[in-house]
Symmetry: C2
Subunit: 197 residues, 2 copies
DNA sequence: TATACATATTAACAGTTGTTCATAAAAGGG
DNA sequence: CCCTTTTATGAACAACTGTTAATATGTATA
């Protein structure tokens, strides 16, 4: 494996553990197995290392063109669509690498303006738009009660985000997340019960 | 005003802006108007300053004995109870001092184990317990559909937390939160529509 | 084998960090 | 007014920060 990739991997882990300020270039270099000055052969400065890691944070599922094009078809599945969304979300939540990236996001969200903007547009708005479109279709199909699709999307997504945060916090202290794992399904059940006709 | 109180106020603002690591003792001292060595007449070290600030984070509304005792009465109000809860939550969200404390919590949540434990017990579990009791009463009264009160409490609280986070993020960049302000009420409306009989 | 290039090392830099110490100024009580 | 206590100052400390320079090592190509 090339040194540059190794730097990115180790840097990601350290940023996830200590944040941007806490992860010093010497700590990163030590984990890679080189001296700190050797880092500067691969990146111009610490900020570039962070940006390189941070740029991979917002790679959501459902982002490729095929999936989006099939949305109107898949949304007609009603609860089935929501369940498959949850499955994806759960996979992302428990994936080790994505967990690290989520940690970085949460740590730097209040310190880094670029990250805030990305969070709003790439995470919040993107997911909201997709889901409100799905709910709109479900309404047209007479599957769910009428209402503001945007509100529904928000109500559906917020508990998922909160669950993900809780899972992340528990995992830092190496506590069990078994109780939370089932909550994802409970959420779909409750939510579908709330909107179905 | 006593120097000690002034230190706590300025430290809170700096912790909210830069986090624990980013808020140096020299920055704090400068804001207070003294030299850094003078801080050590009032606190033994930086950690103690932070703990002193952090200890005021989890002072929830609905925490005094009177309110709790009246819970079973107030819960019978159904939607009225939820609306009053939202009003409290909204006040807390837009309060300047509590906003600062919320920022500190979010920044340090992934770095500080004590804060994580407090968040889980003082914020998450406390609110969840209170609300699930309320929902249980509403079920007995035949006001809402039956179901797991814990799940309902979670579904009710998570969107509030997510809203609060969004408000906080927008305010850091001094963006308008007008659109979000009305979402609190939309949340109660949607939620009540989802569970009422 | 010699040349070029990418990548490593060692050493140093200027700045910042939290904390301590001896000492000076201010405040309050007898 | 003196004495004691509190609170301030300035200087210094060791450790750590990001970054740079000169130099050495290894590797692939000619």
């Amino acid at each position: 494996m090339h040194t540059k990739d190794k730097i990115l991997i180790e840097a990601m882990e350290l940023f996830a553990q200590f944040g941007y300020k806490g992860a010093s270039v010497r700590k990163i270099a030590a984990k890679v197995g080189i001296r700190e000055s050797a880092l500067y052969n691969h990146f111009t400065n610490k900020e570039e290392i962070f940006q390189s890691v941070a740029s991979t944070i917002f790679t959501t599922p459902f982002s490729d063109a095929k999936e989006v094009a099939m949305l109107s078809e898949r949304a007609k599945g009603g609860k089935k669509f929501l369940s498959s969304f949850i499955v994806q979300y759960k996979l992302v939540t428990f994936d080790r690498k994505k967990e690290h990236l989520f940690r970085i996001m949460m740590i730097e969200l209040l310190q880094n303006q670029r990250l805030r903007e990305s969070f709003m547009s790439e995470y919040h708005e993107k997911n909201n738009k997709l889901l409100s479109q799905a709910f709109f279709i479900m309404m047209q199909e007479g599957l769910i009660r009428s209402g503001d699709p945007m509100v529904m999307a928000n109500e559906f997504l917020a508990p998922l985000f909160y669950l993900r945060l809780q899972v992340t916090l528990l995992r830092i202290d190496e506590h069990s997340t078994a109780a939370l794992s089932t909550q994802f399904e409970k959420h779909v059940d409750f939510f579908w019960e709330s909107i179905m006709l």
